[in-house]
Structures are given as C-alpha cells and as structure tokens.
C-alpha cells in the first residue's frame, strides 16, 4: 500500500482578514516551505486594511473585544499540536495561550485602572479614559516565535488598536499559523495583519507611513536600524516603543506597559449645574 501523499500548506500573508500572496510574487524558503516575501506595497496595503478596521474594532464594546480575544485563546489551545509540529515547544504554546487569556481579560478593566475621575477645583465633571491610538506597526521579536509574537499583538489590539505586524523573518511559519488561528476566531478582518519577509523592506515603510499612529520596534535587534526607524517615526510623531534588550524574559509578568504605551488619554470636562 502506497504512503499517502501529504497536502502541503501555502504560507501566505494575512491582510484584511484574507490570505493573499505578496503582490510582488516573491517568496523565500523557511523550514522547507515557501513563505511570502512581503513588499513595500504589501506593507502599504496592510496599513489600509488596518485603518479600515479601526472604526469597528475601537468602537466595539470592551466586552466584545474581550470575548473575541478569549476565543483566540480557545482556538490556539485547539491548534497546540500544529505549533509543536513547527518546532514551537509545547510549554511555549501553553504560555502563549495563557497570555491571550490574560490580555483578553484586560479589555474591560484597563479603562478602570488607567482612567478615572479627576477631582478638579471647580464645578466640573472631569473624566479621563484611555483610547486606542489607532494603527500600530509592530516588529515582532525574532524569538520566542509564538510567545513573543502573541506578547506584542495582544496588548496592542485588546484596547482597540489594529496592527500591522512584521513577523520574525526567521520564524514566519508560527506567525502565519497564528494568522490562521485569528482568522477563525471572530476577529474582524484587518484588526491584525501579518507580513512575512525582510524587515528591511517592510519596517521602513511602516515607520515612515503617515497613517500609522505608533510603532513597536521590539523585534529590531540592529540598534542603528532602530534609531533610523525612530527618526522616520518622528515625521508624524508616532508613539514609539523601543526595542527590548537582549535576553528579555518573555515569560515574566508583562505589566501594563505594552498596553498603555499604545493608548491616548482623553479627558472630558463638563460643568455641573442646574
């Protein structure tokens, strides 16, 4: 009896909830698979998709976003073996799943913890509340392939931002597989967009893009490139998260910093009178 011929997977980009190939028609080889090599144009398309998704995602109720993020964790749990097959340690998949759950719960709590009433010296109602900054470009850390990726995506989107992620060039398979998890989790298209390929092609485009509100340079290991990206980001005063130091402990409690760095605080005043 002949052995069954396997059906192979095509690893593509994830943009606007769809899985297109790079418009450039290019790919590169990782772990014997052809992976899309995203172009500058793909990066721009991804920003358009991310921008289009902002209104609905930021406007969704916090409860709804929390439910969807929790659903992502459920889907991730179900695909555990798939990630393991790609070489992601089982512990890491578990940690990544737990991190989704952790962040999912923040959706309707962060505004309470991070905002609140201000006791101004006058007859005014005065309330500060965090809001998403908008479209965030994220450079995922090279490793750990899944936990690192989840640890930068979840805090950005839980509060209502949408993201364009430049996946780790050396570990794109986990990123595309995560995209498949996201695509089956009721996450609206465009909230997360994932580009695979060379950082040198996509990241400068994202850093300079005037319709991107913030950039997370976590995965940029080249200090010169990071500084250069920060200079580009200054053009429209993007909020910048600088790279993490080598040896960063991704399993540690992440704190609120990754969420709050991508938030705006809006303060509303109104007189109190009869």
């Amino acid at each position: 009896m002949s052995e069954r011929v396997a059906v192979r997977k095509t690893y593509k980009l994830f943009v606007g909830g769809k899985f297109p190939r790079s418009e450039s028609g290019r790919s590169y080889l990782v772990q014997d698979s052809n992976v899309s090599l995203a172009s500058r144009k793909d990066a721009r398309d991804a920003v358009v998709a991310a921008r289009a998704a902002v209104k609905g995602w930021a406007g969704a109720t916090a409860y709804n976003r929390g439910q969807i993020l929790y659903r992502v964790a459920e889907m991730l749990e179900g695909r555990r073996e798939q990630f393991v097959a790609l070489g992601v340690p089982g512990d890491e998949v578990d940690a990544a799943t737990d991190r989704w759950v952790w962040y999912a719960g923040w959706s309707d709590k962060l505004p309470q913890v991070y905002g609140g009433a201000n006791p101004v010296a006058g007859p005014y109602f005065n309330l500060s509340a965090p809001e998403p900054t908008g479209v965030v470009a994220v450079v995922a850390p090279e490793a750990p392939a899944l936990l690192g990726l989840v640890s930068v995506i979840a805090p950005a989107i839980v509060t209502g931002n949408t993201v364009v992620v430049a996946a780790s060039p050396t570990a794109p398979l986990a990123a595309v597989t995560l995209a498949e998890v996201l695509a089956t989790s009721d996450l609206p298209g465009g909230v997360v967009n994932i580009l695979t390929g060379r950082l040198s092609e996509t990241v400068p485009t994202l850093a300079a893009h005037m319709d991107v509100n913030a950039i997370d340079l976590t995965g940029v290991t080249d200090a010169e490139l990071a500084a250069d990206m920060e200079v580009k980001a200054a053009e429209n005063l993007k909020r910048v998260l600088r790279p993490v130091s080598a040896g960063h402990d991704w399993s540690a409690d992440p704190g609120l910093g990754r969420m709050t760095a991508l938030l705006e605080t809006k303060t509303v005043w109104h007189p109190k009178g009869v």
């Binding site: 006791p119 006058g122 500060s128 200090a223 200054a234 429209n236 005063l237 605080t265 109104h270």
Partner: protein
C-alpha cells in the same frame, strides 16, 4: 457712555534686576562664554533685562549639577521630605503671587487679569498637587516601587512661562528627578525669579537648574548625553526635531505640541455661554494657546445668529496695556510672532475668507493684533489648517453631528476640542469620536493640576497633570 478710567496694576511690586544669570547648582552664575540677550516688554518694546545666554558648556555644567544632586541628595531623599520642599515652593509662590503676576505680564504681554486670576493660582496649585504625590508614588498605579528616571531636560514655551515651568518641574521633582530647564528666550524673567524662590525654599543645590537661552541652548540641553528624560512644550516642528534628536537613545520623551482645535456649536447650545466659550477659547492669552479653539464649527442653521452674538461680544473686548486690570487682550509676545500672525491672516484674506475685527485702536509701540474672525472659511484654507497662535478665529459651518466630527478630526493635530449643546447624549457621542486629548463640553480652556492634558497625533504624546503626569517622570 461709561468709560473705564485706567486702572493699572503697580509695577513697583516687582524689582526687575538689570541682568540675570544662569541658575546652576543653587547659584546664579555667568555663562562660560559671557553671551547675553535682551528680554523686552512686548507691550512697549522697553528692555526689561539683560539675560545670560547659556552655551553648551553651561548646559554641561547644569546637567552635571543635576546629576550630582540626583545621586547624592534628591534621589536618596525620602519622598516625604521632597514633598515638604515642594509644599514650601507652592506657599512661597502664593505669597509672592502679585510680584510674579506683574513680572509675567511685563515679560509676556498677557493681561494682568489673566496672570493674576489664571496663571498664578494654577502654578501654585500645580506645585501643591504634585507635592502630595512625592511620598505616595507606590500608590500611583505604576508598581510597588516606581523609580525616577534621573536628570530631566525640560524646554518650555513663552505663552505661559511660569505655568509651563510648574507643569514641568513639579511632577519631575515629586517623582525624584532633578531638572535642567530652559525657558523661552522671550520670557525668561519669571523663571529666574522662580530660581530665587528655590533658594528661598532652601531647595538643595542642583535639584533645579535654569539655563536661559534660545534654540541653540535648548538643542544642547536636549542632545546632552547625560540626560535621561526630555520634556518639551512648543511647536510641532521643533517637537519633531527633538524626537529625531533623541532617536536611538535611552531618553524618555514627552511632547506637548501644537493644535488646531475645533469648537463645535450646535443649534441647541446655551448660546450666551457658548459665545463666552468661543471668546475664551480663542482670545484668552491673545490666542497664544496650543489648545485654543481656533476653528469655530457652527451648525449652519444658527450660524448667522451665533456670529452676530459673537461680534457683539467681541466689540466689548478691551485691548491695551497688559498691566491695566480691565484689559482683556494684551500684547502679542514678540515681533516674530506678530509677523507670523500677519502672514497667515494675509493668506486668509487672499484665499477669499472674510476678515472682521471690532473697532479697536492699537497702541503705537509694542506688538499688537486686533481680535479677528474669518468667515467663509473652508477646510482647504491655510487659516483652517495651520496653527496661527494668535487672536484669530476661523469660522466654518456644518450640518450634522457626523459632519462636525469629520471636520473636527480632519487635521494632523489632536490636542483639544469643544462641544456646545444642551443634549447630553450628543455630548457623549461626540466626545467618543473626537480625536483629541481634552474635550471641553459646554466650557473651554479649563485647566486643573489633577486633570491630564496632552494630545493625540501630531499634538504630541504623554500627559501632563494628574496621576498620568507622573508617568512621564517614572521608570515605568
């Protein structure tokens, strides 16, 4: 007719020194290269003082002094003691408020009514508020043991010289940092007087250093390798340059930049208060306010009536001597700013908008600009897009709430916005959608030390004021 006789505040309450030095390590010192510039009274062009111009060497001395004070004194000092110094400063400011207010009006050109009733009370309140945080930082929500950053480089603008100083210095010191502050070159005098107050409070040497000078001094400070934090309030262009300058460094950056706020008036607004809010929104401090309501969006169905009321109200504005207690609109801060305002208003007229000012006699000497509105403005006009930073209001109309939001947000800026309507649910609907850091509903240009202030988009990042304001000065 009821003509108000002149009611000038006495300037004898303040003793302006003919020259002022740099304040470094607790002492007034001469700059290394001996440079100086003149600070003038913009209402008369009279020279008020010769002010030391700090160079790179002076900045370096100041940063070293701040570093030493951070490591030896201020950093290790218990929060409760830092608090007491800040409380002292707050009290001295209250006690010397008249002197400070007069000096502020002389150097800046703002009406004494505003420096007396707005700037100075807020300055004291800001120090008082942050003083109380100094020994409560573990409760601020930034972890059990939040740490200061170190030496903060702070560059402030000329529109609210002392208030911006307070916004910068009070939270920095409360959090345990030491500072080197550069005031604006046209308004350095109250900062120098503040330095004297630090001496009077026996604040340890080096905790606050004040280096006067212009853009080059600021650049040297921001680019100094040994500062841990940069805080800047000013124009978006300079903010951008600073963001580039600190790229790739460890320096934490907060920026409070320009704005082009929409002040939105609906047909069901409390109209008399809305008119006051429009006037306060654009003519407060001669419109030298980053969060000024410089774009008036009126619902088309009531545009004529509102404009009529606005014009009637504008005719009551009293322009003139900033030290006269009845002055509403003082002098434009500098010749350079006046020419910028003139350039943009000329462009507004050239692009076809209709310019109107009430009858208003301008003094012969000094820098003055009559309160002005432009009607027939569209989003495409330069005066609807660029920050004028003067007493000039661009008036646009809208038909629906959605259109108002769209127009309000159609700008690279996002500092503030105003909404005028008696309908509560519409206020909240609008407030959710306006991309601005401060939304004033049925009020405008209100400030409080407990209330976070800062922008979206190109209006900068970080917040000043409130619990949020501490974050800029803590390692979180």
């Amino acid at each position: 007719m009821f003509e108000y006789a002149p009611a000038p505040e006495s300037r004898s309450v303040v003793d302006i020194k003919a020259s002022s030095g740099l304040f470094i390590n607790g002492e007034f010192v001469d700059p290394a290269d001996g440079g100086s510039f003149k600070s003038i009274n913009p209402a008369s062009e009279e020279v008020l003082a010769e002010v030391a111009e700090g160079g790179a060497q002076d900045v370096d001395r100041a940063v070293r002094a701040a570093r030493k004070a951070y490591e030896k004194v201020w950093g290790p000092m218990p929060g409760r003691d830092r608090a007491k110094y800040l409380f002292r400063i707050a009290r001295i400011i209250q006690e010397r408020s008249r002197e400070l207010a007069v000096l502020e009006s002389l150097d800046n050109g703002k009406p004494i009514r505003e420096s007396r009733d707005v700037d100075l009370p807020l300055v004291a309140a800001h120090f008082f508020y942050y003083a109380g945080w100094a020994d409560k930082l573990p409760y601020a929500g930034f972890g059990a043991n939040p740490r200061p950053l170190g030496v903060a480089a702070q560059v402030i603008p000329w529109n609210f010289p002392l208030l911006m100083l307070a916004w910068k210095i009070a939270p920095a010191l409360a959090a345990g940092n030491t500072v080197v502050l550069k005031p604006a070159e046209t308004t350095p005098l109250t900062a120098s007087l503040f330095a004297e107050i630090c001496q009077q409070a026996d604040l340890p040497a080096g905790v606050v250093n004040i280096v006067t000078g212009a853009g080059e001094t600021g650049r040297a400070l921001v680019e100094h390798a040994d500062v841990d934090k940069v805080a800047f309030t000013g124009s978006t262009d300079v903010g951008r340059a600073i963001a580039r300058a600190v790229a790739g460094s460890r320096k934490k950056l907060t920026l409070e930049l320009g704005g082009k706020a929409a002040n939105i008036v609906f047909d069901d607004a409390p109209v008399d208060q809305a008119v006051e809010g429009i006037v306060n929104g654009i003519f407060f401090n001669q419109g030298h306010v980053c969060c000024a309501g410089s774009r008036l969006l009126i619902q088309e169905s009531v545009a004529e009536q509102v404009l009529e009321s606005l014009k009637r109200r504008m005719a009551q504005l009293r322009l003139g001597d900033p030290l006269d207690k009845n002055t509403d609109i003082g002098a434009i801060n500098s010749a350079a700013q006046l020419s910028r305002i003139r350039e943009l208003t000329t462009a507004g007229a050239a692009e076809g908008a209709q310019q109107w000012s009430p009858p208003c006699e301008l003094p012969e000497r000094g820098f003055w600009f009559a309160p002005t509105i432009f009607t027939g403005v569209t989003q495409a006009h330069r005066i609807a897009r660029e920050e004028i930073f003067g007493p000039v209001l661009s008036v646009l109309t809208f038909r629906t709430p959605a259109e108002a939001v769209e127009k309000a947000n159609n700008t690279p800026y996002g500092l503030s916005a105003g909404i005028w309507t008696e309908k509560g649910s519409r206020i909240l609907w609008m407030a959710d959608r306006l991309r601005a850091g401060v939304v004033w509903a049925n009020t405008f240009n209100k400030f409080d030390p407990t209330s976070p202030f800062g922008g979206y988009k190109e209006s900068g990042y970080g917040r000043e004021g409130g619990r949020h304001g501490l974050e800029a000065y803590l390692n979180v």
